[in-house]
């Protein structure tokens, strides 16, 4: 029944698809970088102070915390999940850390920081168990814990707040301090991005997340330990939100029960703008980081450009839509070109 001659040796030529795909993916992040550069250029030409040291530092500081949460969110979204509780977790951890430090001023702040991270990880573990073992859809579970964790902070805080004056000096200094002009917080954010990026790109555990998000059934059949991975992912997201909370406390000094409210949608927005597919399986943490940076820069640039404050939200919204529309456009293009060359017997 042999109908065709055996394939010619054309192995050498099979790489074309990869380079095109890579080019496109690189283009995705390049697009973000270009948008960033353009925005900064325009803003700077309108007001040269935008590129002053102080101003850059402000942007970096403002990005740092979103960066952490975006890393966690990227991992979660890659598995086709979502973590809407990050804002509440951040609030819980920020308040917990600040309270701890204000009540035990002699405690070294890194210890309190670890407690904050652990608190976040514990919240993440709750999400993870409910999602992985309780089979509750992530959106439902984390929407629930968004309320629960926030309720707990309210409960704990009552109407009280921790003021900067109650916190140890060195902790606050850490919040604004910098190394070679770069804020510590931003360095932490970048470090986390790099570590998570490596993990997602080059380690089996990270690739498993893509596999789960791409097709959970297939992942199960391929022997991926889905439940364990999901648990890990939500713990990681929680821990990063916890770390975010610690940094939040250090940076703002004043912490009340509403810290981080409504942050979740910003983080999701950053991740989406960064090209992470909301339905799992594709995207990189670098893109998400650029998305976070872009959104922060916009937030900082609009007032500088003298654009009415009321327009800011509208512009951010439009930008989110533009970003996903762009992704879609690229995906359609790639899809079309892949389809053309989809012939398997040489």
């Amino acid at each position: 029944m042999s109908l065709l001659s055996p394939p010619a040796e054309e192995q050498s030529q099979t790489r074309t698809g990869s380079s095109r795909l890579d080019a496109v993916l690189r283009f995705r992040e390049l697009g973000l970088v270009l948008a960033l550069v353009a925005l900064v250029a325009v803003t700077t030409s309108a007001n040269s102070r935008f590129l002053s040291q102080q101003s850059i530092r402000d942007v970096l500081l403002a990005t740092a915390i979103t960066l952490l949460l975006a890393c966690g969110m990227t991992m979660v979204v890659l598995t086709k999940g979502i973590d809407l509780s990050v804002g509440s977790v951040l609030g819980l951890s920020a308040f917990g850390t600040a309270t701890l430090l204000s009540e035990y001023p002699s405690l070294p702040w890194p210890v309190a920081g670890l407690v904050g991270v652990a608190l976040g990880a514990a919240c993440g573990a709750v999400n993870g168990v409910v999602i992985a073992y309780g089979r509750v859809p992530a959106l439902v579970a984390t929407l629930g814990t968004l309320y629960v964790f926030r309720g707990i902070v309210y409960f704990w805080a009552g109407g009280s707040r921790v003021n900067a004056g109650d916190l140890p000096r060195d902790f606050l200094d850490f919040g604004t301090g910098r190394l070679l002009g770069v804020p510590y917080l931003f360095l932490i954010g970048v470090l986390v991005v790099l570590v998570v990026g490596q993990y997602l790109g080059r380690y089996r555990g990270g690739r498993d997340l893509y596999a789960i998000g791409s097709s959970e059934d297939a992942a199960r059949l391929a022997g991926v330990a889905i439940n364990r991975r999901l648990l890990q992912v939500y713990v990681a997201s929680g821990a990063l939100a916890g770390l975010g909370g610690v940094l939040h406390a250090a940076r703002y000094g004043t912490v009340d029960a509403s810290a981080g409210s409504g942050l979740e949608l910003n983080v999701v927005a950053a991740v989406v703008v960064g090209g992470v597919a909301i339905f799992g399986g594709s995207g990189t943490v670098y893109g998400a980081a650029l998305g976070a940076l872009l959104l922060t820069v916009i937030n900082n640039a609009l007032p500088v450009l003298g654009i009415d404050q009321f327009w800011q939200r509208a512009i951010v919204g439009a930008l989110i839509i533009a970003a996903i529309a762009l992704d879609r456009l690229v995906a359609v293009r790639v899809g079309r070109s892949l389809r053309r060359k989809d012939s398997h017997v040489g």
Binding site: Y154, D256, N300
Partner: protein
């Protein structure tokens, strides 16, 4: 007295009088005991209202009433409506309310009053027709004048200034800002000062922080910031403290001593002002009890005694003013704890 946070409106006044349940002031009358008095703040997780609540609780204790502190966790008018309905359902005698919106609460307040609940607003008013009395922390004009005066002192009466406010709709904020604008336009002492912009931090720490940052970037010539909100001034101070602008930019406004102590000590902030929120709550509770006991009806000229705070007189539109704001600086800040 001046209208404080609400615009004078003769018509409203007239209808208000007409709508009210038949009540006549009994100036010398005794406070009733056993009144159930509830305080409904803008939101419950705010230390400022916590302090007010402490004061109100003391007063209610003195009056041998029942006290409750309840409210939403977000600062929206619609959530407050649910709480007003609940309180009127529970047949509370007095609601002490700090309103998130001057109008949105009116219909439910009217229903509550129709059911026999007395409504006294404090801190942030509603339309005068929907409440019995308003306990203003200070005379609105007085606050505005104090703020601009402090700023002028700190920047030497010359240069650009900006305002960092709370939410865009906050009644009291907008009234004070109007006074500041008016002073700048008409008072020759401030002829060399210019208000460049007003931004809104929504009474959120982060937002206020970022808005401060934006202000300084957008306005390189800026000399000072007035933030007539406790959240805003603390966030702005915190930003200035960690930035190169520390000591370059004057910051004043309304803040609590506990929150600001650190910034005054390290000279980020020279002087700011506030009234005593505890006393405000206490006065509100007495005013509420006075209304419920028929001692006052909210008509101009009526008087009542608010425990140790002394005697107060109801002004036009049912406004009762606590007193002038206190200024806090390195010299006196350690004398206060709230």
């Amino acid at each position: 007295a001046c209208g404080g946070t609400t615009q004078d409106d003769a018509d409203d006044e007239a209808t208000a009088g007409g709508d009210e349940p038949a009540a006549t002031a009994d100036a010398g009358g005794e406070f009733e005991t056993g009144l159930s008095i509830a305080m409904l703040p803008k939101s419950v997780n705010n230390p400022y209202f916590e302090a007010s609540s402490t004061g109100a609780e003391t007063a209610v204790g003195d009056l041998e009433g029942e006290y409750e502190y309840t409210g939403p966790s977000d600062t929206s008018a619609s959530s407050q409506v649910s709480y007003i309905n609940t309180l009127s359902q529970q047949a509370a005698d007095v609601i002490l309310l700090s309103a998130n919106d001057p109008n949105a609460l009116c219909s439910s307040l009217e229903q509550a009053r129709a059911a026999g609940t007395s409504v006294v607003t404090f801190d942030s008013d509603v339309d005068p027709s929907c409440r019995d009395a308003f306990v203003s922390q200070v005379d609105g004009a007085e606050v505005g004048r104090t703020l601009i005066e402090m700023m002028s002192e700190q920047i030497g009466g010359e240069g650009q200034i900006a305002i960092l406010s709370a939410t865009a709709n906050a009644t009291n904020q907008n009234a004070w800002i109007a006074v500041i604008e008016d002073e700048l336009a008409n008072n020759p002492d401030y002829a060399n000062m210019e208000l460049v912009t007003t931004v809104y931090g929504d009474d959120e720490d982060e937002k206020s922080f970022q808005e401060t940052q934006g202000l300084l970037q957008a306005n390189p010539e800026l000399k000072g910031i007035i933030s007539p909100t406790t959240v805003g001034i603390a966030a702005a101070a915190r930003y200035l403290q960690g930035s190169e602008y520390k000591g370059q930019i004057a910051l004043t406004g309304l803040g609590t001593p506990n929150q600001m102590r650190e910034f005054v000590k390290d000279e980020t902030v020279t002087e700011f002002a506030l009234w005593d929120p505890t006393a405000l709550g206490e006065l509100a509770a007495y005013a509420g009890a006075a209304v419920a006991s028929g001692i006052i009806t909210g008509a101009e000229g009526e008087t009542f005694t608010a425990g140790e705070l002394g005697e107060y007189t109801v002004g036009a539109d049912g406004v009762i003013v606590l007193g002038p704001p206190t200024r806090f600086n390195a010299g006196n800040i350690d004398d206060f704890d709230f």
